[in-house]
């Protein structure tokens, strides 16, 4: 909802706080999720997440939530899906080049970030969207992140993206598919090193 989205961005500082609490809860729940199996909780949690975030942020379930780095303005609402905007086409008064009736998502994002406690995160270059994660739960990724640390060795194969985009480490490995990676997907050269 456009209206709700504008509201959330205007109150970005409050939503940042709430979001952090949600994260803490998810992390605390890691053992529970691990016991039930991440694969089994994925769908119900993704549905809940989608419900809430669609109303509040017009979330598109990209699976790698970056709201805390974008002033609580969901960048998937930018018609160009920029992860590091705004583009050079913003109209007079801050309206979008492509959808002139809508405020530029990224113009709002910078304003929103300025109101946030950790708003400076918007200054980091975010990695390109991993399209294969679409539809998966970003919330689960937070708790999975902990478990992911244990799988560090396997993540060695992802260091390319991580090196290019420091932010990628936090987002990418943890939001990776739930299933074990097939051996063929692991880059042998990297492992040998």
């Amino acid at each position: 909802m456009y209206r709700a989205r504008l509201f959330a961005i205007r109150h970005s500082r409050k939503f940042e706080w709430i979001y952090k609490r949600v994260e803490q809860v998810m992390v605390a729940l890691d053992p529970v999720f691990a016991k039930i199996g991440y694969g089994r909780v994925e769908r119900p949690i993704a549905l809940v997440e989608q419900g809430i975030k669609t109303v509040l942020f017009d979330c598109k379930m990209c699976g790698q939530c970056v709201l805390s780095s974008t002033g609580m303005s969901c960048p998937m609402n930018c018609p160009k899906e920029l992860r590091n905007g705004p583009c050079g086409g913003v109209r007079e008064g801050g309206y979008c080049e492509v959808k002139p009736w809508m405020k530029c998502v990224w113009s709002l994002a910078w304003d929103g970030a300025a109101r946030m406690k950790d708003g400076d995160k918007i200054r980091e270059v975010l990695p390109p969207v991993d399209r294969s994660l679409k539809g998966s739960s970003s919330w689960l990724r937070v708790s999975r992140e902990k478990a992911a640390k244990l799988r560090e060795a396997r993540e060695a194969s992802r260091t390319a993206v991580a090196e290019a985009f420091p932010e990628a480490r936090a987002i990418e490995p943890s939001s990776a598919p739930l299933a074990e990676e097939p051996a063929s997907a692991v880059n042998r050269e990297v492992l040998k090193k």
């Binding site: 160009k80 705004p86 913003v90 080049e97 113009s107 200054r123 270059v125 090196e163 290019a164």
Partner: protein, 332 residues
């Protein structure tokens, strides 16, 4: 002809000069502290190479590098990579433009290698205009990357010698990395911050969109200097002659990201010979821009007024007698 007969037409892979990242002439000029000039070529709607050479001729006399646009304004023309390859062979230095609108990451990384192999040494990373403003509004907008992730990707290819997948590139592309900026467009307060992000992502030179509002640009540059960005990136300010008051108004409301202040349009309106007035304004703008600290050059975009480019540059005096003519044909 055997394949070896072609080798004199393509560059030999060699390490760049000391303190440089590429063999780019533009990079050399900028690092030497000279005021650089780049110019935008109007790409032909044709498959005839002589159309490209004809279009480049009036620009090559004064430009250190010629920009080959990538379907700018989402209008279809000859590709940037094709134009760049042709011009490089004819001895011009080119800026290969990549817009994120039309290609995904697989296509782009491959094109970068192809362009580098053909001798292209400068690349300009752009987000691109939406497809809706172009001649084929029904096209699928890609936007897999944005200009910053594109910059960082090419820098990774060049400096780390690998694709984003981590696969090794045996001979990395040696390219001078550029990005665009639009200082006079909303949100003006955040534009310098976004510029900082672009530098962080890998930009080594910047070509801005049209600057018609000097006070606004000065404000931008003041912030840029405060942030120390002018020391980390070469900024080329975009300029171009207006054709008439009507054209200026049309541009302002139909081309995304262009800001022309009203007093300038009034001045065009009153002029007896709008063409000559447009040229005069352009020269004045260049001279004013040149006085602003932190500006490293100008980028001339004279759409359909290419014939005026060399006069504008020569009359503005920015070359200071420096000759930026093209070298003998062959790779740079």
């Amino acid at each position: 002809m055997s394949p070896s007969d072609y080798t004199d037409q393509v560059p030999v892979y060699a390490p760049p000069p000391e303190g440089h990242v590429s063999h780019s002439r533009l990079e050399r000029v900028l690092r030497a502290g000279r005021f650089a000039v780049t110019a935008e070529l109007n790409p032909p709607d044709s498959a005839d190479p002589s159309d490209v050479f004809d279009a480049a001729q009036p620009l090559g006399e004064v430009a250190d590098a010629i920009n080959a646009t990538d379907a700018s304004g989402a209008n279809c023309h000859m590709s940037s990579i094709g134009i760049s390859a042709l011009l490089t062979r004819a001895g011009y230095s080119t800026v290969y433009q990549i817009s994120c609108r039309d290609r995904n990451r697989i296509a782009i990384q491959g094109d970068v290698l192809g362009a580098a192999a053909m001798g292209v040494t400068n690349v300009l990373c752009l987000t691109g205009d939406g497809v809706g403003v172009g001649d084929q509004p029904g096209a699928k907008p890609v936007f897999d990357f944005d200009s910053l992730t594109l910059l960082r990707t090419i820098r990774t290819m060049r400096d780390q010698g690998m694709f984003l997948s981590g696969r090794k590139i045996t001979r990395p592309p040696q390219m001078f990395l550029g990005a665009a900026e639009n200082p006079c467009i909303h949100p003006q307060d955040w534009r310098p911050d976004r510029l900082a992000k672009k530098v962080e992502a890998g930009a080594e030179f910047i070509q801005t969109n049209y600057i018609y509002d000097i006070p606004l640009f000065e404000k931008f540059m003041a912030r840029v200097r405060d942030m120390g960005l002018d020391k980390r990136v070469y900024i080329l300010a975009g300029v171009g002659p207006l054709a008439s008051a009507k054209a200026a108004r049309w541009m302002r409301s139909n081309v995304p990201g262009i800001h022309v202040p009203d007093p300038l349009i009034d001045r065009m309106e009153k002029a007896e010979k709008p063409g000559a007035e447009g040229k005069k304004i352009c020269i004045e703008l260049i001279q004013q821009i040149r006085e602003i600290k932190g500006v490293a050059g100008v980028h001339v975009m004279a759409y359909r007024r290419e014939h005026q480019v060399s006069e504008i540059i020569l009359e503005s005096g920015v070359l200071e007698g420096r000759k930026s003519r093209r070298r003998a044909a062959g790779p740079e």
